[in-house]
């Protein structure tokens, strides 16, 4: 049989199903379960990756692949899968990460032997992969909602995998509740579209639910009244926003991502939140037609706010995985900045710029998937080795687990948007689109672009600070705890998985012009333009803005040139320093007898200046307890605690929750237990109805 997407796609899905089954089958033999379920997942994801790449590179001429998975069950449900460029792109993200993570899990799951049931983990992991794959490929809103919910469900099960810890349970509940409310909004949104399309089609069959149908209708101006269009926009923004973790709907994210097993948190941060982005792309660019100005403005502002707040909160964390989770919020914000700008350009009828901004967003989507996955895998390896997520307990790991340290450093450089890696490229594109945007309008709104750019700069600078802290405190200097001192390098499969993602980072970073061609069919579908040629100069060496005077960059060139320039230090060494010797000595300790780890700078200390500068936001509290025997000058022990307040949680969510529970408790008074009262209810009902019937 020949290798085409049409043949690979079913293989992929089957693979996941098999993996799921295998996990459940071998509940009792953990080694077998681990091998089979994650093995299946790895292979399936590989197939998926190939399939998506093939269908993306097939060129715009190729017709999207359609599959009917199951016979239609009841009216409306049509289990059809459609692999158009957009689906293929997100399918690529899912499968690529899926591949790396499954590979990783083969090693990581060993950590659970004897403690937890690996079979269950494998089964749900496969289910999650399956559902996510179907989410980005579903061609029918009903089917989409179904797999969307299954995805949320399996994610919930995986988050509460280590449910013995109370915080895990509450995080799981918080996640599922918010996600379900989001789903409710999405459902309403799709029902609105369904209503409209059914009205136009004249029948409310499954076709009224098909994505292709929605897309086809966008040409028809009258299909959605502007009112319901805006309503749908808001509903989708909220619904998908919850999944994507935009501020202020993000509170579940830093709670849920850290407590999950690391391979799962990597998937959630890398892929799951991208399904929210997928939904927005699909709906905003594919279904709802030309947007009004305020959509773009809203999305851009939300993006900016999410980016800045996300990174600021990330800086305050000393739980490694929680820190990474907050960075997901930041990056989602950056993606949405691109989308927002794109929507604004679409409104102002600048398809070229709209395409550029959209590309920036999408490029950052895949970039974030890759490097955030990488970072979480690194964090997982660290957790695996030290059994703690608290950075204050780490340190000195660069010596003990060098490969992991290197991989994590690559991820850190990438996510801090430093050249020459991929984070820089996508943010460069974002800057370009914002910059070009200034000229597109004379309204005051255009100020949003440069200010957005400035805030983006702030964001990436803070991100750099945050990852200096994350990497420096975790991997450098002396170990701060026994566990860290005893740490060991992660097993091979875990390293391989990270290597795969590092390779992806480097490729996306150094060869953007190659990758941009992959996006062509996508932009063709969404904005009707293909601009990869326009963005390519010097036969692929250089990436340029839409007009080449607008600015150019070449990460590859920079890298090569940098390598050449390395000759200078070498020459200097030859000339001057050949005879110079190198000694290993102690760090200068101000004449004390030796440095102890307790003298090192801590994570909390590192971020203190920023905490002070942004006092107004963080409202930091500190508690210092000093104990001394006879005189305060001879303190025996000091306990220092610093807390920052998470405004949205303390000011919005907790009060809301409290109020709801209070109201419900008051309601319970109705069921007070007195028969008389119950009789009176019925009596009054009867009397009212009698009057109604008159």
């Amino acid at each position: 049989m020949d290798i085409t997407p049409t043949t690979l796609l079913p293989l992929t899905l089957m693979g996941y199903v098999l993996g799921c089954a295998a996990g459940l089958l071998f509940l009792r033999h953990e080694k077998l379960a681990n091998l089979c379920s994650f093995g299946c997942a790895t292979l399936a994801a590989l197939c998926g990756t190939v399939a998506c790449v093939m269908s993306l590179t097939a060129g715009p001429a190729a017709a999207p692949i359609q599959l009917q998975l199951l016979p239609t069950l009841i009216p409306y449900v049509q289990f059809t899968v459609r692999l158009d460029p957009l689906s293929a792109f997100f399918g690529l993200i899912v499968s690529l990460l899926g591949f790396a993570l499954s590979l990783y899990s083969l090693g990581y799951a060993r950590g659970f032997y004897g403690r937890k049931n690996v079979g269950v983990l494998g089964a749900f992991f496969n289910l999650l992969l399956l559902a996510t794959t179907l989410v980005v490929m579903a061609d029918n809103a009903f089917f989409f909602l179904m797999v969307w919910e299954i995805m949320a469900l399996s994610a919930y099960c995986l988050v509460s995998f280590e449910h013995e810890k109370p915080e895990t349970r509450s995080a799981g509940v918080l996640y599922f509740v918010m996600s379900h409310i989001g789903t409710g909004c999405i459902m309403l949104g799709f029902l609105l579209l369904f209503q409209a399309s059914g009205r136009v089609l004249g029948n409310y069959g499954p076709d009224a639910y098909s994505f292709a149908g929605f897309h086809a209708l966008t040409g028809n101006v009258s299909w959605l009244s502007s009112g319901s269009r805006d309503a749908a926009f808001l509903l989708f923004l909220i619904g998908f926003g919850v999944k994507a973790g935009i501020v202020p709907l993000h509170t579940w994210l830093p709670a849920a991502h850290p407590v999950a097993p690391s391979n799962v948190s990597a998937f959630m941060s890398g892929v799951l939140i991208k399904t929210g982005i997928y939904g927005m792309t699909r709906v905003f660019f594919d279904f709802l037609g030309t947007p009004p100005m305020w959509w773009g403005v809203t999305v851009l502002s939300i993006g900016t706010i999410s980016a800045v707040l996300g990174v600021l909160y990330a800086l305050m964390q000393h739980d490694l995985k929680r820190l990474l989770a907050y960075h997901s919020i930041e990056n989602i914000g950056i993606i949405l900045m691109g989308f927002g700008a794109s929507l604004m350009f679409l409104h102002m009828n600048h398809p070229l710029l709209a395409t550029l901004a959209l590309i920036a967003g999408l490029y950052h989507t895949i970039n974030h998937a890759v490097f955030k996955g990488l970072l979480f895998l690194g964090a997982g390896a660290v957790l695996h080795a030290t059994h703690t997520r608290d950075m204050e307990q780490m340190g000195g790991l660069a010596k003990r687990m060098p490969q992991t340290a290197f991989f994590f450093l690559v991820g850190a450089v990438a996510i801090s948007a430093l050249p020459p890696l991929n984070g820089f490229v996508s943010e460069w594109l974002t800057y370009q689109s914002l910059l070009q945007g200034f000229g597109t309008t004379d309204s005051l709104l255009r100020l949003m672009f440069p200010i957005g750019g400035a805030l983006l700069a702030l964001t990436s600078a803070l991100a750099a600070a945050c990852f200096v802290k994350a990497f420096g405190i975790t991997f450098l200097a002396q170990p701060r705890s026994e566990a860290a001192a005893q740490a060991h390098e992660a097993p091979l499969t875990m390293l391989l998985a990270q290597a795969v993602l590092v390779a992806a980072c480097v490729f996306l970073g150094l060869f953007p012009t190659v990758f941009l061609q992959v996006l062509d069919p996508l932009t063709q579908q969404l904005t009707g333009l293909q601009i990869s040629q326009q963005l390519t100069l010097a036969n692929g060496l250089v990436l340029s803005g839409v007009n080449q005077n607008g600015g150019t960059v070449s990460t590859l060139g920079i890298t090569l040139l940098g390598l050449c320039l390395l000759s200078i230090p070498f020459v200097l060494w030859l000339v001057f320093a050949r005879r110079a010797k190198t000694r290993i000595g102690p760090t200068w300790d101000c004449g004390l007898k030796g440095l102890t780890p307790r003298m090192e700078y801590t994570a909390t200390g590192f971020s203190k200046p920023i905490r002070m500068i942004f006092k107004a936001l963080f409202r930091p509290r500190r508690e210092v307890q000093r104990e001394y025997d006879f005189s305060p000058y001879f303190t025996t022990s000091i306990r220092f605690e610093a807390h920052v307040e998470e405004v949205f949680e303390t000011r919005i969510y907790r009060p809301l929750n409290r109020w709801v529970l209070w109201a419900s408790r008051r309601m319970r008074a109705l069921q007070a237990g007195s028969l008389q009262a119950y009789l009176i209810y019925i009596f009054i009902t009867l009397l009212l109805l009698l009057l109604f019937a008159l």
Partner: protein
């Protein structure tokens, strides 16, 4: 001869149970009886599909698609709970919670209870339907009071008082309907009180009388169906009854009352045209849903929470029928079926938990039930996921179908309210169940004897649920479509 056996077999079983002494034999008899009715039900399904209506004894017994659907549900749930009852009472006897006499009482009354329900759905004569319903009420009251605890007596008392009050009102409504049927023509002979006959002449009824009648019927049967605000007996009875009974109460008897209500709804619609009865149904349905949610959110007792969730589902069914489009009604019937397969499992699991921890209070049970009863928790989890309306289980389809129908009919706001109520209930159930099922707990001793309690029953129902969620047999689909057509009426 198809309907008669359905109505004869269970009481026969009851009589035999009265005579025999061995408990196992009683269990066997119960199971046998309900297995038989289930088989007959399936045959009935085909009969009905073949010749839309099956009647016996000069139309005294009358079965159309709607009745056939109900028969299937009743027998399925009864079979499930009789499967479960065996192990359940063996444990209770071992624990000395009940006496052998009470157990006998259970095995005698359950078939009677079921017979009542069968009669409700198979009787053509509205009066007969009424007293059949009363019979179910009376038999189930004694079942609720089975444990003879203070609380269970209280529950039974409230149930009987409110129930028979409601039924009295319903009877009044029935009488008025009959009066309307008799109407002007004071000629010598007594007109038939058969539903099928009334449908043919409904057009000439005095509309004002029918209006009046429907009010009383709604309040009356609504009480039995647990529509808010007449639902107040429901959580008490469902939480205090032995779990097999709770399963039957929640699984079918509510829906049987709805069925009775529907017959009148159809009649009324026939007479007054759409708009009157369906508005009332919609209103009460919505009110029930919205009322149930907060109670679930802050509930402190497992079975009470399940009861409130039943209230939620009943509300959804009524509201869907109230929306009165073919799609929503189809969804409602589908929902009836799926809910009938789901809720009993939850009650069975709750029963196991109750017997293991000797309480239903969340606080007392505490976290980590999964460590003690892994199998039970597995089934409960599946059923709970289904009851929360998540895919891949059928309730997701039925709920989304209802919503779609609502939107298709342009009832945007109402449908949104329904969705909101569903979400609220979801949050409640999720919160509460996570609280007890998951978590760490020191297992004093792994008790394998009780580990597999009730697995056959739960397996049967969950299996059915799963099967019907991914594959829906064509005849059943036709049947539901037919039933929906009947409810929709000609208009």
């Amino acid at each position: 001869m198809l309907l008669t056996p359905i109505l004869v077999i269970p009481p026969a079983a009851a009589l035999l149970c009265l005579l025999v002494r061995s408990r196992r034999l009683m269990e066997g008899l119960n199971m046998l009886a309900f297995a038989a009715t289930l088989a007959l039900g399936i045959r009935l399904l085909h009969e009905v599909l073949a010749r839309t209506v099956v009647t016996e004894w000069k139309e005294f017994f009358y079965a159309d698609a709607l009745s056939a659907w109900m028969v299937l549900l009743i027998s399925a749930v009864s079979l499930g709970s009789s499967l479960y009852a065996g192990r359940y009472f063996r444990r209770d006897l071992a624990a000395g919670v009940v006496t052998a006499g009470r157990v006998k009482e259970f095995f005698v009354l359950t078939p009677v209870f079921a017979t009542g329900m069968f009669l409700v759905v198979l009787a053509n004569n509205l009066g007969v339907m009424w007293f059949a319903l009363e019979a179910t009420a009376l038999s189930s009251v004694l079942l609720v009071a089975l444990y003879n605890r203070k609380t269970s007596l209280e529950a039974a008392w409230k149930y009987i008082m409110l129930g028979s009050l409601g039924l009295a009102l319903a009877l009044f409504g029935t009488v008025i309907t009959y009066a309307a049927a008799v109407g002007q023509n004071g000629n010598g002979r007594l007109p038939s009180f058969n539903w099928s006959h009334l449908m043919t002449v409904a057009a000439q009824f005095d509309p004002r009388l029918i209006k009046l009648a429907f009010v009383f019927v709604l309040v009356g049967y609504g009480t039995k169906a647990g529509l808010a605000p007449m639902h107040t007996w429901l959580p008490d009875a469902h939480s205090e009854a032995p779990s097999p009974t709770s399963a039957m109460l929640s699984g079918v008897s509510l829906k049987v009352a709805i069925y009775a209500l529907l017959r009148f709804h159809i009649l009324t619609t026939q007479c007054l045209g759409t708009g009157y009865s369906r508005t009332l149904l919609l209103g009460f349905g919505l009110f029930s849903m919205l009322l149930a949610a907060p109670f679930i959110l802050v509930q402190s007792n497992l079975k009470r929470m399940l009861a409130y969730s039943s209230l939620e589902h009943v509300g959804l069914i009524c509201a869907a029928i109230g929306l009165n489009t073919p799609v929503t009604i189809f969804g409602a019937l589908l929902h009836m079926g799926y809910h009938a397969l789901t809720k009993p499992v939850l009650f069975f699991a709750a029963g196991n938990i109750h017997q293991t921890f000797h309480t239903l209070k969340f606080r007392v049970i505490g976290p980590g039930v999964v460590k003690v009863l892994p199998v039970t928790v597995l089934f409960m989890g599946l059923a709970a996921v289904a009851a929360m309306g998540l895919p891949p289980f059928g309730l997701f389809y039925s709920e989304l179908t209802v919503l779609s129908g609502g939107f298709a009919a342009g009832r945007t706001f109402i449908s949104s309210l329904i969705l909101a109520a569903l979400i609220a209930a979801f949050c409640g159930i999720l919160k509460q169940l996570t609280r007890i099922l998951l978590g760490a707990r020191k297992v004093e001793r792994a008790n394998d004897a009780t580990a597999w309690d009730g697995v056959p029953a739960m397996g049967l129902l969950v299996g059915g649920l799963l099967v019907f969620s991914v594959w829906f047999p064509e005849p059943l689909l036709q049947l539901i479509h037919q039933a929906a057509g009947i409810i929709k009426g000609k208009s």
